[in-house]
């Protein structure tokens, strides 16, 4: 059974601010789509529109073959009838009900028999590895445990679509790692179409089949994580994705197969570029040499920041400052001379004016 979600020209305003601005998306049945963006970009509002918790001011939403919302037709199916489950940022477990009641609440509404309810509750608790917690109140559990119960509550009534609103943001870093793996596994085994909201790019990159990056209510790019990372559609996406941040350098293309920067030039694929551009180089795409070499540019090691698995080196040449990533612990010392070499095949060029990617 297909549960492809189609969003057409969706717009939602709050007073004068446009929270979601004419967004169109198709989420294939069974895929995991992440809405990614800084806070206030409209990602949560978009999710809430799909859930039916907000009434959009324009556009249409289909879930499977069912139209659940249409502004032009005046249709809005209530949230409870959209057959979707949601996990909230603060879990939203009902504090006055024990775990069992929290889970069976929806099942009672579906008028399931006692035995069936029990069975479903056990199954879903087993799914999140919380078998012995039926008799606990939410406040008697840790944040991570509450998170699992919130998941179990959603799983128990078997929605066709999972909606998750920053479900991991209230957990500590370590637990977040574990839960990422669990969530991805859960999606894999259930096959439910999932929309996941986060501002954490690592979460988005590690878990999604597709990522939709948003900014100020406008969809910036919808693509696979790999392509989002490799070919950000514009400077905003390029800047938002990647840690340490991508290096963005103002330059000029005069048709010589290279980009002229302030004090030096870099060889790049400039077939579609002319005039003022911004050059984007990921920190790991720049190699560090301790000896001069043709094509390598001399820099000063301004700061060296090892972090175990890799080292970030902040390199300076005049006003140009670059982040460079080296695997392992670097032997470079601060204020040493280094030579940087750019890999021309992975550099992206952006139009200075529009900020859009100039396809290579």
């Amino acid at each position: 059974m297909s549960t492809t979600i189609i969003i057409k020209n969706l717009t939602k305003r709050f007073g004068k601010t446009v929270a979601v601005n004419d967004v169109s998306l198709t989420i294939e049945s069974g895929s995991f789509l992440t809405l990614l963006g800084p806070s206030g970009c409209g990602k949560t509002t978009l999710l809430r529109c799909v859930a039916g918790l907000e009434d959009p001011d324009g556009g249409e939403i289909y879930i499977g073959d069912k139209m659940v919302f249409s502004h032009p037709k005046g249709i809005s199916v209530p949230p409870g009838k959209r057959e979707l489950g949601m996990v909230f940022q603060n879990y939203a477990l009902w504090p006055h009900m024990k775990v069992d009641k929290n889970i069976t609440f929806a099942l009672e509404i579906q008028k399931l028999g006692q035995d069936e309810m029990k069975r479903r509750m056990r199954e879903s608790l087993a799914e999140v590895k919380m078998e012995d917690y039926e008799d606990r109140y939410p406040r008697e559990m840790s944040g991570g445990q509450q998170q699992r119960i919130a998941l179990a509550r959603m799983l128990a009534y078997r929605p066709k679509v999972f909606l998750m609103d920053e479900p991991l943001s209230n957990l500590d870093a370590r637990l977040r790692m574990d839960m990422r793996a669990e969530l991805k596994r859960l999606h894999f085994s259930s096959g439910a179409t999932t929309i996941y909201v986060t501002h954490d790019q690592v979460e988005a990159l590690t878990m999604s089949s597709y990522i939709a990056v948003m900014k100020e209510g406008v969809l910036q790019q919808l693509d696979t994580p790999d392509r989002i990372y490799r070919f950000p559609a514009n400077l905003f996406v390029a800047d938002f994705i990647g840690n340490p941040k991508v290096n963005l350098l103002d330059g000029y293309v005069d048709g010589q197969g290279s980009v002229k920067l302030e004090t030096f030039s870099i060889a790049a694929d400039t077939r579609n570029a002319r005039g003022s551009v911004v050059l984007a180089a990921r920190p790991e795409d720049i190699s560090i040499l301790t000896q001069p070499e043709p094509g390598a540019v001399e820099f000063n090691a301004y700061s060296v920041l090892p972090s175990g698995a890799d080292t970030t080196i902040v390199a300076k040449n005049g006003n140009i400052e670059l982040n460079v990533r080296e695997m392992g612990i670097s032997k470079i010392k601060m204020d040493e001379k280094i030579w940087l070499k750019f890999n021309p095949t992975v550099l992206n060029l952006y139009d200075k004016e529009s900020g859009n990617l100039l396809a290579g």
Partner: protein
């Protein structure tokens, strides 16, 4: 032709869509509940106000004798001219207005001084016994507002009103001066001793929430204690002071008990007592002009205060990190000051109660000897020569009837107020930012600015005749419940809103996604989660209604009499001991209610005041 048909079809489709969208909006729980609340408040607040204003602009039956060619129901400015620009104006309106202002400013000022000082001493000095002082400060508020006034008459009664001498005269051998017995001074003092609790609560909360680093940084810059107090502390608690000011001023303006007991005997009328008297002689329209004047003054006062503070709630935004402010050292004064404060507090509570209780044991008023002591007023059989033949209060079935009226009035009022509170809270919080929500919130605030006695007056005009689907309610018990609920709407919406803010919206949304309909969400999620606010709101309304006088004094009839109004009735008939016995019964009942608040986890007087 075909084109025309298509565009017509498109038009009807668009119309259909718009209708559907409207219906979708209209049938959402928040909108339905908001609209129900609007209708209820429209009936309970707006229409009565309108009817009152309407009455003042039309000739009434009595006016036919005053104006030769007047016809009942004809539109006229007669009552306004009569009240503002005739020889009636001075005794009926101008003097009482001046008196009301004098009393309100005086009482508010004194209450401000007492409450503010006490709060400062409790929070910002090293005075021992602060906890006790804190608790004692709340007690006067539990007693009915006119308790101290009534005790005052026992103590300072003088010969000017005739009858028996008071305790003061018995002890001192001479009659106390009139200014001490009656008039503005005793009214101001007795009201202030009741209302200083407001200031105490507001200022304590404000002082506690001031971030101490604000004061510390002043100190680091070398400012003196005094300078810090004036330049930093005072401006920060100013909003709290003004909130206390608004509340106290409005309450004193609309209060009936004190001015009736201590002003009327010497013809020192305030607007509130004059309203009652005008209604008593059948000049309803005149009374309404007075009530409108009172409402306008109350509104102007609140408006000015709001302009000064910026917003009525700004005291809530002071909030900072915990409380670790430096305390002023009282040194040698410690013992003396503590003693003075505690003695003062006990005097304010114990002395009035003691006087009232003592008075109920006297057979003949004003005869201070041991053989005059009796339990007759409490348990005696009916004797023709005593108390107009009434039996002792505990033997009097009527008193039990009135007590029952008091209790059931309080229970019904508290119940409906609590229910309205939850619904108002839901409608306002869920709709935050929408015009509908703002409208509901503003409408719910209106009864706040209408002083108690004026609110009672408003209701006389409204429900004397059937109106729409509502039958004539005048003289019924239902009317008392309706007016009490209406007057409590501002408080219930405030408690409702704060209770609802505690319930994260996701909790309801999660239930919504699980397919729960509105009723189920209320029953299973919203009611259980707001029940603590609901119960403390319930108990608070219960005790405030129990001792409410000003609001219902104009509306009770012999069958719907409650304890509070019965004490006034006994006072008016000169049965002082009976009046005092009844007020003691009332205080006992209220104390039981207050005890229950304390028992209930999380409930408190402070919470009920919306703090």
């Amino acid at each position: 032709m075909a084109e025309f048909e298509i565009s017509q079809q498109a038009f009807s489709l668009r119309l259909l869509a718009t209708t559907r969208r409207f219906l979708h909006w209209l049938t959402s729980a928040r909108v339905v509940l908001s609209l129900i609340m609007l209708v209820i408040m429209f009936y309970m607040v707006i229409i009565p106000l309108y009817r009152m204003v309407e009455t003042t602009f039309t000739y009434q039956e009595k006016d036919v004798y005053r104006v030769p060619d007047a016809q009942v129901g004809q539109i006229t400015l007669f009552h306004y001219i009569r009240m503002f620009n005739s020889q009636m104006s001075k005794p009926y309106l101008r003097d009482p207005l001046v008196h009301s202002m004098v009393v309100s400013f005086g009482a508010t000022g004194l209450a401000f001084f007492l409450g503010g000082l006490l709060a400062w001493m409790c929070i910002r000095t090293d005075m021992p016994g602060r906890k006790l002082i804190n608790q004692l400060a709340l007690l006067p508020y539990i007693m009915p507002g006119w308790t101290i006034a009534q005790a005052w008459t026992v103590l300072f009664k003088n010969r000017i009103t005739g009858g028996a001498p008071g305790v003061f005269e018995f002890l001192m051998g001479q009659s106390p001066p009139v200014w001490l017995s009656y008039g503005p001074v005793p009214i101001i003092i007795s009201s202030a001793l009741h209302y200083y609790t407001f200031f105490f609560l507001f200022v304590t909360a404000a002082l506690m929430s001031i971030d101490s680093s604000l004061e510390e940084s002043g100190e680091l810059m070398g400012a003196s204690r005094r300078r810090i107090l004036m330049k930093i502390t005072f401006p920060l608690v100013l909003p709290a002071l003004l909130s206390g000011f608004i509340m106290t001023f409005s309450k004193v303006m609309g209060t009936y008990g004190g001015p009736a007991l201590l002003g009327v005997p010497v013809k020192y009328y305030t607007i509130s007592t004059m309203i009652r008297s005008a209604i008593g002689i059948g000049d309803k329209a005149d009374a309404f002009v007075l009530a409108i004047t009172l409402i306008l003054f109350s509104m102007i006062n609140i408006y000015i205060n709001q302009k000064l503070v910026g917003t009525r709630k700004s005291y809530e935004t002071i909030g900072g990190r915990g409380f670790m402010a430096q305390v002023a050292k009282l040194r040698n004064w410690k013992g003396i000051l503590t003693t003075i404060v505690i003695v003062f507090q006990i005097l304010v509570i114990v002395l009035p109660l003691g006087l009232l209780l003592f008075d109920t044991f006297m057979l003949t008023t004003g005869k201070y000897s041991l053989d005059n002591l009796t339990l007759h007023n409490w348990i005696g059989e009916s004797v023709k020569t005593i108390n107009n033949g009434a039996p002792g209060v505990l033997r009097n079935p009527k008193i039990y009837g009135f007590a029952w009226n008091s209790i059931r009035l309080s229970i019904w009022t508290a119940f409906f107020t609590a229910v309205l509170g939850v619904i108002l809270g839901y409608a306002i919080v869920k709709g935050r930012g929408t015009r509908l929500s703002r409208l509901v919130e503003q409408l719910a605030f209106i009864p706040y600015v209408i002083p108690g006695i004026a609110f009672g007056a408003v209701y006389i005009s409204m429900f004397a005749k059937p109106f729409g689907p509502i039958p004539a309610l005048y003289g019924t018990f239902t009317l008392l419940v309706v007016v009490s609920v209406a007057k409590h709407i501002p408080y219930s919406s405030r408690t409702g809103v704060s209770a609802m803010l505690q319930v994260g919206r996701e909790l309801e949304e999660a239930a919504q996604l699980a397919g729960a309909n509105t009723w189920r969400r209320f029953r299973r999620i919203i009611f259980p989660l707001t029940s603590s606010g609901f119960v403390s709101g319930f108990l608070l309304t219960f005790i405030t209604t129990m001792r409410e006088l000003s609001l219902i004094i104009l509306l009770v009839t012999p069958t719907t009499m409650v304890l509070a109004t019965q004490t006034m009735r006994y006072k008016e008939n000169g049965d002082d001991q009976m009046a005092n016995a009844v007020i003691i019964i009332l205080i006992v009942l209220v104390s039981i209610g207050n005890f229950l608040i304390g028992k209930f986890r999380g409930g408190s007087l402070k919470k009920g005041l919306g703090m």
